[in-house]
């Protein structure tokens, strides 16, 4: 633990100056304690977040998230019971039913935002963090992490969760809505994903990549 603490202190120092992404102002990063956030003096944009044990925590939440993602997709999230018939809904069946309803583009949008991007985020984050932690990076590590950072906003499972709540209230009057086994896993998945994005400090990954590659600033 102490060893890692000193390592993080060192890597934070390698990035001594930063240009604000939103106003281009160059600022010297102050000495920061865990939990502190450095903001741009001119536009208030977050420059740097100092977090404790960011990579280990993120890895733990990503692995938990991957397991919960698999469970969420194995069983139905919701079922609707009416006139003696039961209709089940999963993440994948939402895309499939839109495809069958002759809305291929809508189906693709839902497939990408609820399955493909969340899954690549989880798998990719685990892969990158494992590589960084074991100091075994290759030339695909940086491009992969760049891809993960730029597609972060396109995984929309938390919005899908809100949509489930809306659908339950809407259908509640008309028919019996049954919560599926996977819905509980799905709720926990949303929690792990938000903990993952909160605990993963991309600066820590880039600092470690810079350290391993010996890249000079």
């Amino acid at each position: 633990m102490t060893n890692q603490g000193t390592q993080q202190k060192q890597t934070a120092e390698t990035l001594s100056h930063m240009a604000c992404a939103h106003c281009d102002l160059i600022q010297k990063l102050p000495a920061m304690q865990v939990g502190e956030v450095a903001r741009c003096i001119r536009c208030n944009n977050v420059l740097y977040r100092k977090q404790k044990n960011s990579l280990n925590r993120a890895l733990a939440f990503a692995i938990t998230g991957l397991i919960l993602f698999v469970i969420s997709n194995l069983f139905p999230l919701l079922s609707l019971k009416a006139m003696g018939l039961t209709q089940e809904g999963t993440l994948l069946s939402t895309s499939i039913s839109l495809f069958q309803a002759e809305r291929p583009f809508l189906s693709l949008i839902i497939l990408l935002t609820t399955i493909i991007f969340p899954l690549t985020t989880l798998l990719g984050t685990i892969y990158v963090l494992m590589q960084v932690k074991t100091n075994r990076i290759n030339r695909y590590t940086a491009p992969l992490f760049r891809f993960l950072r730029s597609t972060d906003a396109w995984g929309m499972l938390e919005i899908f969760m809100l949509a489930i709540l809306v659908a339950v209230v809407k259908l509640g009057d008309l028919a019996d809505v049954i919560f599926g086994i996977s819905l509980y896993a799905f709720c926990l998945l949303i929690l792990s994903l938000s903990f993952l994005s909160y605990s993963l400090n991309p600066h820590d990954v880039w600092n470690r990549l810079r350290d391993i590659k010996g890249c000079q600033i």
């Binding site: 990035l15 536009c43 809904g89 949509a163």
Partner: protein, 235 residues
Amino acid sequence: MSHSTQLSTARMQGLVACQFCHTLSRIPEEIQNINREEDTSNKTNNVELHCPCCQSVIHSRIPDSLNKTWALLIAAIILYIPANTLPIMTVILWGNGQPDTILSGVIHLMDAGMWPLALLIFIASIFIPILKLLILIGLMISVQLKSRWKPRDRTILYRITEFIGRWSMVDVFVIGILVTLVQFGNTAMVTPGLGALSFASVVILTMFAAHTFDPRLIWDVIDEHTDKNRNNNED
């Protein structure tokens, strides 16, 4: 003012920050000179700089940011019309179909007494998309008019649009869930409408537009102005 002389941007110092790993790199002299002459900005597109640490393509400002953002915004505004006039879904009960647009969907929820839900859908599907389009158009016009009005507030507005835009997708997901669950033949069925696709496209296009807009353009006007003032004071 000794304070203002300390403020200096990466561009003023001939540096480029990597958007991913934040490493600062020095721009080679010859490219810097081309950058200063705005008319020949096309030439800079041929020269690609790469971040020494993560190998991503780096640029001082997003190339062609204003044109790309206008194109995406105009496409979004055009699609906003079918998104609101075409039905987003049709609910078929006992063989009778009732098409719903975004607005009529909200009104039906209000009629059914589901006020919190009506408010949520109103905010996500009507208020946020309009707000986002208006803020982005306002920011674009302010940059093109070289406005110096409250740059900090405008940057914060930009961050808000970047953050809230994706939540408008909630109605699209609700339609997806309803289409999946309500499949009881002619007695009860929900089919997705073209309005839903148009609306999803509006959300996606405005997300891309927020991504191609470069908020540093807001500050370039301010920096040029303080630069000029500094030179005038020296005379």
